[in-house]
Amino acid sequence: MDAILLQIFNGLDKGSAYALIALGLTLIFGTLGVVNFAHGALFMIGAFCSVTLQRLLTLSHETLDPTKLDFLGNPSKIKTPYIVEWFGADAGNTIIDWSVPLAILFAIPIMLAIGYVMERGLIKHFYKRPHADQILVTFGLAIVLQELVKHYYGANPIQTPAPDALSGVMQILPGVVYPAWRVVYFCFSLAIIGGVFAFLQFTTFGMVVRAGMADRETVGLLGIDIDRRFTLMFGIAASVAGLAGVMYGPINAPNYHMGMDFLVLSFVVVVVGGMGSLPGAVLAGFLLGILESFASMREIITLIPGINQIIIYLVAIVILLVRPRGLMGRKGVME
């Protein structure tokens, strides 16, 4: 029983990353009708936002300590981060320790800006072009973004540790312990997903966007500048991906190709959930996450070797063939 519970937790945890990325992809697809192959790159940029913040916070200056000598006999150098100098040792070190959660605040404006520039600068010109062209140009963009990050941050993964308080394990149920940060990640993703849905459901802005998703032309005829709102939605989708990346850093050290690895999977998730359906994307994300973690149980691997590697693709193929619209796809979207 415990083993099954643990697998469900594992699955929810994996699934929350899939769901967040798929949610952003679906937002872009549902509003703008663009298939965004650069979405994985946005996820990766989010992760590197937290790397950048960590580097900024640990900017330090060197002082010589004449009482201690290093192995060459010179006075040893001591690095003091400016933050520690300004806020005192306790507060400074706490800020550095909490750099990943702080990076959420840092990443939102950056991702919004990147999303805005991307939509206005590039994607805008591709609304009338075939989907294949959109795939190709965003694929090119993904390569460019990835290579730029590689150029400035190097090809090796960079550790972004979770705060000390959250890096241990947590007792979630009697007898079941689980890494604390993964629980945080799950809750965080629920919050983001809830936030996006609430924004669309309960605000006037969200109402207009939903109307635009249903019938863009009529909304335009009513005198609403729907393009501007859709641009903002692109920014929001970019920040959802970015935040998913920021918080993912402590689970898997950010490297420049993490986006590509996630992209393929999240596309599969979107297709399984149904193109253009937000609840479908979230549901499929969690479902596939759970399926994957069950498939990686030792009993199942010994039964069908290698199943954990291919289960998601297998499910996607079956779903596409027997239920072409996906789990919750609407009629008439991309058929």
């Binding site: 190709l136 694929f139 090119g140 693709y313």
Partner: protein
């Protein structure tokens, strides 16, 4: 001749001349001059030009004609490589049976995948092929290790049976790939003054195979079958209404392009008898898409050009480093030199992928027809003045 129209025949002859004379054309700089790093006339690289040319020609038959964008073609390349290496392990080091087997296996594999994937169109088709390719990659990497040798990659060893050949040569080393005794790596050097040209058996074999593949693709483009494929691209519904079932045609195109990919994979294994799972990864599939689009999808010569361009960039651009750049811009004043080098060093060396991505984005955005369309536009620019002088009323426009 060969059942081709004059224009196509000319194209074929030009391509034949270019590939046959490639060791000269790609080696324009003397061996010890500073520009020698731009020479691309060494066998290893030339082989890759033509092999990836074959791959892209095949991909173009599917994507260029029917418009179905497959993101999983590398799977067929990988399968071709694996089957060729198995042939070297079991039968003999002759490349001919290996190539035949790799084409057959890749064809069968692509029939299977195509049969399922082609039930859907558009982006769903792309994602299905992507899913299949990723599945094959994951399986080749893990469970199928007895067949694929997992992470290490499949290699030939001294104790392979090789029924028709020998397990080891007389001096106890692994035999090399050959075609009826002629070794693939055999090469002769021709030295003329400061220039040195290398002619290798492997390259010429690949080039001949590519010419045959190119000829076949011209025939497919010009055949009624090719017309059907174009009809699928332009309007599948209309084709249905006229009483034609598009499915068998699309599947045939998919299998043909899969066989081309298998052939390319087999040739890769012939030149260097090892096969690894990373050949099947989806980035490799992405690469052939880049090549085809860059050159010009749906044109005959485009994919070959694109493949050549990308492989040239990969090998030559990635060799340039910061020091080289500094030495080039030595004549400029220092701040200008440093600024220029700072900008350019993003794009060379390890950053050549960046160059590739930027060029690719520009091509997709501004030149959807690829290099071929670019060439045509430039050609029209020069011809316009001449044509205007002749007689404008004589120009006829085809009815849409």
């Amino acid at each position: 001749m060969f059942g081709l129209e004059k224009k196509d025949l000319n194209l074929l002859i030009i391509v034949a001349l270019l590939t046959m004379l490639a060791p000269f054309i790609l080696n324009p700089f003397p061996t010890d001059s500073a520009l020698a790093q731009f020479n691309a006339g060494y066998p290893d690289l030339m082989q890759r030009f033509v092999i990836y040319g074959i791959f892209a020609i095949g991909f173009n038959i599917l994507f260029g004609l029917t418009g179905y964008l497959s993101f999983g073609h590398a799977a067929f390349l990988g399968v071709g490589s694996y089957s060729a290496v198995w042939m070297f392990k079991l039968l003999s080091m002759n490349v001919l049976p290996a190539l035949v087997l790799s084409v057959i296996i890749a064809g069968a594999f692509s029939w299977l995948i195509g049969f399922i994937s082609l039930r859907r169109t558009g982006i769903y088709f792309s994602i299905l092929t992507l899913a299949f390719a990723q599945m094959s990659f994951a399986l080749a990497y893990s469970v199928l290790t007895p067949i694929t040798n997992g992470e290490t990659g499949l290699q030939i060893t001294l104790d392979d049976p090789r029924i028709l050949g020998m397990s080891a040569t007389a001096d106890g080393s692994i035999p090399v790939t050959n075609i009826f005794g002629l070794e693939m790596r055999a090469a002769t050097d021709l030295v003329i003054g400061p220039w040195s040209f290398t002619f290798s058996v492997g390259y010429y074999l690949c080039a001949l195979v590519m010419l045959v593949a190119f000829y076949l693709s011209i025939r497919i483009f010009r055949s009624p079958f090719g017309m059907m494929l174009r009809a699928i691209k332009s309007n599948q519904t209309r084709m249905n209404y006229t009483g034609l079932n598009p499915k068998p045609y699309t599947l045939a195109a998919f299998v043909i392009s899969g066989m081309y990919a298998g052939l390319a994979g087999g040739l890769l294994a012939c030149m260097d008898p090892l096969a690894g799972a990373e050949r099947m990864q989806w980035t490799a599939s992405g690469e052939v898409v880049l090549m085809t689009i860059l050159g010009g999808a749906g044109t005959l010569i485009g994919p070959v050009l694109g493949a050549g361009m990308i492989k040239y960039f990969e090998n030559i651009f990635s060799k340039i480093n910061e020091a080289t750049l500094h030495s080039w811009f030595d004549v400029l004043p220092d701040p200008m030199e440093n600024g220029l080098v700072w900008v350019l060093e993003h794009f060379v060396g390890a950053g050549w992928h960046l160059t590739l991505g930027v060029i690719f984005m520009l091509v997709v955005t501004f030149l959807p027809g690829g290099l071929v369309e670019g060439g045509q536009r430039i050609g029209r620019l020069f011809n316009r003045t001449k044509a205007a002088k002749d007689d404008e009323s004589a120009a006829t426009k085809p009815a849409e």
